[in-house]
């Protein structure tokens, strides 16, 4: 391997981590508050919802699809959990179950469109996104908030409480992260999902039930995202219609920033975690420095495009068999 080739390989594999560290050091030197434990915990806590949504997205992207309706699953999960408690006196643990089931139902609708009707994931989930957004507006008189001040403490503590001194949000994020790691990286189901994402025809010929796997992928992704919505309503003690949308693009960015670090540019759970933390850190740092928050999106865009361009350029190195002509 030539020096240049080595340099590029190194850059694409670890270049992003260098950027990550660079920003970390930059913020640490520019703002006294940044390195405080409480601030670092804030970053973790504040990004649990994004993490959970991005993990669901990781699963979908690994199977070769995309889910533009992840925000709808977030919204519906939180909204109907609240409605169940408010209007039907459902106990809060059961309300969580209701929220997750509703999220799964959003995913099932996607699966129906994609697997049964053969609509491409991009268009199917775009349709769900429009339909879901409209439903929220219809039933909230054009997008009015749904407050729930008398929320059961148990539910509220999902977002605000602590267990063994650790904020519950972080614990929930860690549990979901662990489950996804086992599912996608260490179980045979994950292997199959990766095979489907890489080459669906080969996966089918190998006897994998591709339709069933795709079906489950979208259901699990949406159900997971709805957990994010539940945390969100618990923290705010209200449901804000269409709030889930703000997580969609960040989740996609986090997944692909993570994938760019993988030797074969595959979406992976570890990479997604790094991507989410990066986005969270940059928002937090810019905020503390009192800089224009609007810089964040530009930075996110630059880092995303840069990381992917590097990953692709490494594939194109001369002498590698199978490099695109």
């Amino acid at each position: 391997m030539s020096g240049r080739a080595f340099g590029l390989t190194f850059l694409s594999r670890y270049g992003f981590l260098v950027v990550f560290l660079g920003f970390f050091i930059f913020f640490a030197t520019q703002s006294d508050a940044f390195l405080n434990t409480s601030n670092l915990v804030n970053i973790l806590e504040g990004n649990t919802i994004l993490l959970v949504a991005a993990l669901g997205m990781t699963l979908v992207v690994a199977s070769g699809g995309i889910d533009l309706s992840i925000g709808i699953a977030i919204d519906f999960g939180g909204w109907l959990a609240i409605v169940a408690m408010m209007d039907h006196d459902v106990a809060w643990p059961l309300a969580i179950v209701v929220g997750v089931i509703v999220g799964a139902a959003v995913g099932a609708f996607n699966s129906f469109l994609i697997v049964w009707l053969g609509v491409s994931p991009f268009l199917a989930t775009l349709g769900t996104f429009f339909i879901g957004g409209s439903i929220q507006q219809i039933y909230t008189s054009g997008g009015g908030q749904v407050p729930f001040r008398q929320m059961p403490t148990g539910y509220q503590e999902l977002a605000t409480g602590e267990t063994w001194g650790i904020p519950n949000e972080i614990l929930i994020g860690a549990v979901v992260l662990f489950v996804f790691y086992v599912l996608l990286e260490r179980s045979i189901y994950g292997k199959r999902i990766h095979a489907i994402g890489l080459q669906p025809s080969a996966a089918a010929v190998a006897g994998i039930n591709v339709r069933a796997y795709l079906w489950m992928t979208f259901v699990v992704a949406s159900a997971t995202a709805s957990v994010g919505g539940i945390i969100s309503t618990a923290g705010l003690r209200q449901f804000t219609p269409l709030a889930g949308f703000s997580y969609l693009l960040d989740a996609i960015a986090a997944v692909f920033i993570g994938a760019s670090m993988h030797p074969q540019q595959r979406p992976n759970v570890g990479g997604t975690l790094v991507g989410v933390l990066f986005l969270g850190m940059v928002s937090n740092g810019l905020n503390l420095m009192g800089l224009d928050f609007n810089f964040r999106d530009a930075l996110e865009g630059l880092v995303l495009v840069g990381a992917i361009a590097l990953a692709v350029s490494q594939r194109r190195l001369p002498g590698r068999v199978g490099s695109p002509a």
Binding site: V182, R186, S187, I188, Y189, G190, K191, R192, H194, A195, L198, Q199, S201, A202, A203, A204, V205, A206, G207, I208, N209, V210, R211, Q264, V321, G322
Partner: protein, 530 residues
């Protein structure tokens, strides 16, 4: 050797053309001379070099060596543009038409005519309709969508597109009848003769020898990258009614001559001895039809038996294999594995019933190219290397893969290699390895040795024989007839969507099998596509 390039009655002279691909000498000083106003046939087995020389002419491949004259003018640099400018046109086997374009748009695609106000739509339509009616004898409305035409009409549109500019002097037809039924073939032949009579020279590439002897004036036979001979077929015989008589005695004599030239290859002891002691039936296919590519396929495979399935392009063989594995819908018929009927809906169902496939398109369907050898070996049988709940036991998976890599001598002997980087033969071993330890009852092997070098080939044959000896039934779909004769116990021959013959391979001569597949032994077989 070098041919009469100075002759001024030749439409095309390709002389001493050589072309090598890594590991293969595809063309070795090959010649092709097409006279003015003749229909010149080009035949040869797969890999004989006919498509390579056509691609050299088309400017797709650059020859390592040799020269090309078109209409007595030497072409220094062949590019698709320069060849087109000299009036050389190609009618490819695939139709490559846009279904939602109409006839006019398709004919003038990429050669649209401009009027004062943008596209000269009406003028183009009139020209297209006139051309189709006058030259090709077909009344087709220029506004009809391609998808509403029959396949035969689509073929005519494709021809019109190549010839509409009136500059064509040499037209190459590549397997033009593969998609057509018997009646349409006669019409097409009429059109080709018309073109010839109007002064255009024709190169006619086909596997169907009966067509070659019927329509061609001369035929050049390719074998192993060389033109072994060019035969005069003389004038066509025309009966009183003005129809060309096919299958004349003269024709079949000529076909036998061509077959001998085409084959001329020795079959060594590449193939293992047959040890068939066929037991109970493991695969029973009864009356299977898809309504398009094949009809009424019925046959059975017994345990311990290797059954060949052969047929040239367009015979429906590939579609039949796909349907057996649940990848293609069927309209009629049943299939049973080990006596149990299975529904042909998905490969997953076939696999769980004990029927597995080694697909013909190894790189698209056989392997996940960006996964490791170990992952590819295990991908169909992940339950074997996991806990009950699905925890992937990586070490166990690697061990199993290492064992199989060792057993099949996959090189390099590292199960963590990404399969994309393996050679064709080693990739095929990986696909085979996947199913080896699954106790499957029926192995369907589709073109298992395509792109596999000779060494790996014989290893694959030995493996197939082992599978059969171990009590599995093997259905081997292949267009390599020597291979079919070498390894199979029985062979099924498909022509135009039907299984037209079933023979024991012992005592079956290669030229006899060639005759069966090319339909020359079975004149008048009714096709599906008609």
């Amino acid at each position: 050797m070098a041919t009469t390039a100075d002759s001024n009655s030749n439409a095309l002279v390709m002389s001493d053309i050589s072309k090598a691909f890594p590991g293969v000498q595809a063309l070795d000083n090959a010649n092709l001379v097409v006279a003015d106003r003749e229909i010149h046939g080009l035949v040869g087995e797969n890999g004989a070099g006919k498509s390579t020389i056509i691609k050299v002419l088309a400017g797709i491949y650059e020859a390592d060596h040799g020269s090309v004259w078109v209409a007595n003018e030497q072409l220094e640099q062949l590019t698709p543009q320069s060849v087109h400018e000299r009036g050389v046109r190609f009618i490819h086997q695939e139709l490559s038409l846009v279904p939602y374009f109409n006839v006019t748009e398709s004919v003038f695609m990429a050669q649209e005519k401009q009027g004062v106000f943008g596209l000269a739509t009406r003028k183009m339509r009139r020209q297209a309709e006139d051309f189709l009616a006058n030259i090709l004898g077909a009344e087709i409305d220029g506004r009809t969508l391609i998808r509403d035409l029959t396949v035969a009409q689509q073929k005519l549109v494709q021809i019109a597109r190549a010839l509409i500019d009136g500059q064509a002097r040499l037209v190459v037809f590549d397997e033009p009848t593969a998609v057509l039924g018997a009646a349409d073939i006669n019409t097409l032949f009429g059109n080709i003769r018309e073109l010839r009579n109007s002064g255009i020279s024709i190169v006619y590439v086909s596997h169907y020898l009966s067509e070659i002897t019927e329509i061609c004036n001369r035929v050049t036979v390719f074998r192993n990258g060389v033109d072994v001979d060019t035969i005069h077929l003389g004038e066509e015989q025309v009966n009183g009614a003005g129809n060309v008589v096919s299958g004349a005695a003269n024709g079949s004599v000529r076909q036998a001559e061509i077959i001998k030239l085409m084959v001329g290859r020795e079959i060594t002891d590449m193939y293992p001895e047959s040890q068939a002691t066929p037991a109970n039936t493991v695969l029973e296919v009864d009356g299977l039809s898809d309504g398009i590519r094949f009809v009424d396929a019925s046959f059975s495979v017994r345990a311990g038996e290797i059954v060949g399935l052969t047929g040239i392009i367009g015979s429906g063989r590939e579609a039949l294999v796909d349907s057996i594995y649940g990848q293609r819908r069927v309209s009629k018929g049943t299939l049973a594995v080990a006596g149990k009927p299975i529904k042909l809906r998905s490969p997953a169902q076939a696999v769980s019933a004990g029927l597995v496939l080694v697909p013909r398109d190894r790189r698209n369907d056989g392997l996940v190219l960006d996964m490791s050898v170990a992952d590819n070996v295990n991908v169909a049988t992940l339950e074997m290397v996991s806990s009950k709940l699905g925890w992937h036991r990586r070490q166990q998976a690697a061990q199993r893969a290492d064992q199989l890599v060792e057993q099949l001598d996959v090189r390099p002997r590292r199960s963590d290699t990404i399969v994309r980087f393996l050679s064709g033969g080693n990739q095929q071993k990986v696909v085979l390895a996947r199913w080896l330890t699954t106790d499957s009852k029926v192995f369907v092997l589709d073109q298992p040795t395509t792109g596999v070098d000779v060494g790996a080939r014989s290893e694959i044959y030995a493996l197939v024989a082992q599978l059969a000896a171990g009590g599995a039934g093997v259905l081997m779909s292949s267009n390599d007839l020597a291979e079919v004769l070498g390894i199979c116990d029985r062979v099924l021959v498909m022509v135009r969507g039907r299984i037209v013959a079933e023979r024991e391979t012992s005592g079956l001569a290669l030229d006899e099998l060639v005759a069966l597949t090319t339909g020359s032994a079975l004149e008048g077989v009714e096709g599906v596509a008609s």
